[in-house]
Amino acid sequence: MNRTNKGMILLAALLLAVLIGYPVCIILIRSFTLNGGFTLENYKEVFSDVRNYEALLHSLWVSVCATVLSTVIGCGAAYFTTRTDMPFKKSIHRLFLFNFFIPPFIIAMAWQQILGPVGVVNRWYQEITGSTEKLVTIYGQNGIIFVFTLSGSVMVYMVMKSNFEKIQSSLEEAAVITGASSFQIFKDIVMPVLKPSVYSAMILVFVSNISNYGVPSVLGFHVSYYTLTTRIHQVLEDFSMTNNMEVAASLSAVLVIITVLTLTAKDRMLKGKEFTLITGKSEKAALNELGVWRKWAGILWVVYGIFVTVCPILSILATSLTKAYGLPFSVKNMSLKNFATVFQMPLFQRAMGNSLFLAFTAAFLAVGIGFVVAYLCVMAKTRFSRPLEFVITMPGAIPGTVMAIAIILAWLRPVPVFGFSFYNTIWIILIAYVANYTTQAFRTISGSMYQINRSLEEAAVISGASLAKVMTTIVIPLIRESVGTAWFLIFIPCLRELTLSIFLWSSGNETLATAIFTLQEAGNYTAACALSIVIIGLIALMNMAMGKIFHMEETMG
C-alpha cells in the first residue's frame, strides 16, 4: 500500500506547501524584516502607533462584548426551543436558520439603513419630536457590537441546540428522583454538563468576530473606528508608509496569535470532556412546562427571530425597491427599476461571471485537494499524515484578512516558471479561495472517511484493484454525499466571499461582494441593496438545492 501512495503524498505535500505553507511562512518572515535585515521595528510600530494598538483594543473589546451577549441570548434561545413546551419552535428555528443565508456585511448594511443617521428610526424620531438630534447611531463600537451580537447569537443557538438535544435524559432523571426542582436541575446538571460546549461555542463566535472584516468596515469606517482587520486593510493601502507591507504583516501576525491562542485554549479545555458526558443516542427528555409564560416566551423569541432575520431583509428589500435612496417607503415610491439598472451594469455582469467562475472552480479544486489529503490522513495513514493534516487545517485558525495579506506577499512577484505575476488577476483570488477553503473540504470529507472501515478498501485491493479503481469504485461512491456537501459548503460562501476578495480584486476582476461594496461606497445604496437581494436569493436557492440533493432537512450555509 505504502508504495502506491508515494506519488500522492508528494503531490499533496507540494500543493499544500505552495498554497498554504509558503504564504504563511512568508507573512512571518516579512513581519520580522525591514530593508532586507532582521528587525523588530515592525512590531514596535504595531504597539507604538496609537492607530495600531487602538485597533487591537477595539477588536478585542467588540469581540468580547458581542461574544458574551450572544452567548447569553443564543443559549437562552436554544434552551427554550429544546427543553420547554414553548410554542412556535419550528418557526423560530426557521427564522434563525435563514439568518445564515445573509452575509454579515449585508446585515451590517441593512442595520445601517435602519439605525443610521438617515435611517428609518432616526427619521421617525425627528418627524415625531421635531428635533434635529439623532436618537441612535449605528456607527462605531456599539453598532458593531450590536450586529456581531445578532449574528453570534444565531451561531450559539445552532451549536447549543444540538447539544441540548444530545444530553442523556437519564442524567436529569437521576436528579428528578432526588426531588430537585427544574431550576435546580438546570443549574446543577444541565449547565455543568453543557459547560464545555458553551465554551466551545463562545470561542467559535469570538474567533469569527475578531476575524470579521465586513461589519467593522461598513459600520466603523465613517467614524474612523478601526479594528485589526480594517486597520490591516488601511495600512496596506497607505502608500505614504515605506514599510506598509511589513507593518500589515506584523498586524496580521498579532491577529493570528490571538486566534491561535484562543483555539488552542479551547482544545486544551475540551480535551476528553465533551464526549464523556454527552452521548449520541438518548431518548427525549421531558419538557419543562412554562405555564402562563408559555405563550409569552414563544412570542418573545419569534420577535427576536424577526429582529435577527426579517428586519435586515426587509430593510434591504425596501431600499432596493425605492426609486431613490432617502425617499420615504411607500407604494408610490416603489419600483423595480433598481434591479433593471443593476442587471444592465457591466460591473454586475462581470462580478456575477467572476463570482460564479471562482466559486465553481475553487469548490472543485478545494474538494479535490481536501479529498486527497483526507485520504492520506485518514485511510492511508503514513508518517506524513500528521504534518499534512497540520498544514491543511491551518487556515481554520487564520482570519481571511491575514490569509489575503499572506497570498499577496506570496504571489505579488512574478512566478519563476511562468514569468508573470498573478497579482491583479482573477487567478490570485482563485488561489486565495482554494487556500482558505481546503480546510473546510478536508474536515467534511475526512469526517465521513472516519466512518469507512478500512477493510472495505482492502477487500478491493485483495481483488487486484489499482489505487485509481479503489477510489472510483469503492471510496468515492461510499462518501459521495459528503463530497457533494463539501462542494456546496465551499461554493456557497465563495459566492458571497468578501474578506479575501476585498484585498485582491482589481478592475475587471470584481466579485459580487466587492461590487456591492463599491456601489455602497460610491453612495449608490439602492443598487447595492438590489444586488444584495440577488445574492441572498442565490444563496437561499443554493442551500435549498443542496438540501434537496442530499435529503438534508436543515442545512447551514
Partner: protein, 326 residues
C-alpha cells in the same frame, strides 16, 4: 517445496518487535489456523501475507512465486498475489448489491461478462445465497453478509483464502453453523485456507494444522491432536484446552482434567496422587471437581458424577501427562 512458505518472517513496528522470526509451510488444500491471544501478532502475519504490511525481514512464497523477499528485494502487489480475504467486519460494500459485491474481483480481472455471471452465480449457489443476488447488504443478516464476503473471497479461486476472525461477530448458535458450513465449503472447493482466530475451539475443530502464537513467537506448529495432547510449552498447554499443572522439584507436569479418574484408593495406573475435594460444579454434560493435593490443585472432569462430599479424601489416577522443563 510447500505450496505456501513463510521464511524467517520478522516485523518491527518502530522499536517493537511483533513477529520474531516465523517459519511456516502450508500444503495445497490445507486449512491452517494462526491461534493466539490478542496482541500475539497473528493478524500482522495475515496482513503480511496479504501485502498490507511489509515484513521487516524474511520471505513469503505463495504457489511457487516469491511475493516478498527482503533479501532479493522482491515485492509483489497485493492485487497480484491471487488472494481472497474475508474480514472480521465482513467489509461487504454497502453501495453494491450481492451480485456486484461478489463479481467485483472478476470485474477487476476483466473477465468476459458471461464468465463473470456464470462464476458469480455458481459461487453464490455454493454459499447458499441463490436468489439473493439483487439484495443490498443492509437487508441481509450477519450470517448472510458473512456468506457474501466468503463468496467474494472464493470467486477468483484464489491460491489462498485469508480469513481474519470471520466468526467473532456472530452469535454463538450461528457461529457453530457457519463453522460447519465453512469446513464443508473448504472441502468442496479444496481452497487453501489461512485462518486467524483467538478461539481455540474453532482452531481445533477446523484446522489441519495449528500455529500457536505468543508474543510474536510460534510456540508450536502441529495438528490439532498434537497441539492438544502433546503441547510443547506451558503456554500452549494453558491456552489450548484446560490443563492442570503440578509442580515437582524443577519439573512441571500438565494433566488434562478428563485424563483423570477419581477412586477411593490407588489404582494400577501410571500416575496417581491423593487429594481433598474442595469444590464441585455441575456443568450439564459434565461434572467438574476441584481437589487440593500436595503438588497443587487438580481439576477433574467426568461425564458421570461420583458420590463424594466436600472435604472428603479421594485418590486421583491417570495414565498420560506432559512434562515441561522449567
Amino acid at each position: 517445496m510447500a505450496y505456501i512458505e513463510l521464511k524467517g518472517l520478522k516485523k518491527k513496528f518502530g522499536e517493537k518487535e511483533v513477529i520474531r522470526g516465523l517459519d511456516l509451510e502450508i500444503e495445497k488444500g490445507e486449512f491452517v489456523s494462526l491461534l493466539g491471544p490478542s496482541g500475539c501478532g497473528k493478524t500482522t502475519i495475515l496482513r503480511m501475507v496479504a501485502g498490507f504490511v511489509d515484513p521487516t525481514e524474511g520471505e513469503i512464497i505463495i504457489g511457487g512465486n516469491t511475493v516478498y523477499s527482503s533479501e532479493k528485494n522482491i515485492y509483489v502487489k497485493t492485487g497480484k498475489r491471487n488472494l481472497g480475504m474475508v474480514f472480521q467486519s465482513y467489509a461487504v460494500w454497502p453501495h453494491m448489491n450481492v451480485f456486484d459485491n461478489v463479481a467485483y474481483p472478476l470485474k477487476i480481472q476483466k473477465l468476459p461478462k458471461e464468465e463473470q455471471k456464470r462464476k458469480t452465480m455458481e459461487i453464490l449457489k455454493q454459499v447458499g445465497l441463490e436468489g439473493r443476488e439483487k439484495d443490498f447488504p443492509w437487508s441481509l443478516s450477519g450470517g448472510q453478509q458473512q456468506r457474501v464476503a466468503l463468496a467474494r473471497g472464493l470467486v477468483m479461486e484464489p491460491a489462498v483464502l485469508l480469513l481474519d476472525e470471520p466468526l467473532s461477530n456472530l452469535d454463538v448458535q450461528l457461529r457453530q453453523k457457519m463453522k460447519e458450513e465453512l469446513m464443508e465449503i473448504q472441502q468442496r472447493t479444496k481452497v487453501t485456507v489461512l485462518y486467524v482466530t483467538h478461539d481455540q475451539g474453532e482452531a481445533l475443530q477446523m484446522s489441519d494444522k495449528i500455529v500457536v502464537l505468543n508474543k510474536g513467537n510460534a510456540e508450536q506448529i502441529g495438528t490439532p491432536e498434537e497441539i492438544y495432547h502433546h503441547p510443547k510449552t506451558i503456554f500452549t498447554a494453558d491456552f489450548v484446552g484446560k490443563m492442570n499443572f503440578l509442580k515437582n522439584g524443577n519439573k512441571t507436569f500438565g494433566i488434562r482434567p478428563e485424563y483423570i479418574s477419581i477412586g477411593k484408593e490407588k489404582k494400577d495406573r501410571a500416575y496417581g496422587i491423593s487429594g481433598r475435594l474442595e469444590r464441585y460444579i455441575f456443568e450439564g454434560n459434565r461434572n467438574s471437581y476441584l481437589f487440593s493435593t500436595e503438588e497443587g490443585e487438580l481439576t477433574v472432569e467426568t461425564p458421570i458424577p461420583v458420590s463424594l462430599l466436600k472435604g472428603e479424601q479421594a485418590y486421583l489416577n491417570w495414565d498420560q501427562q506432559v512434562e515441561f522443563e522449567r
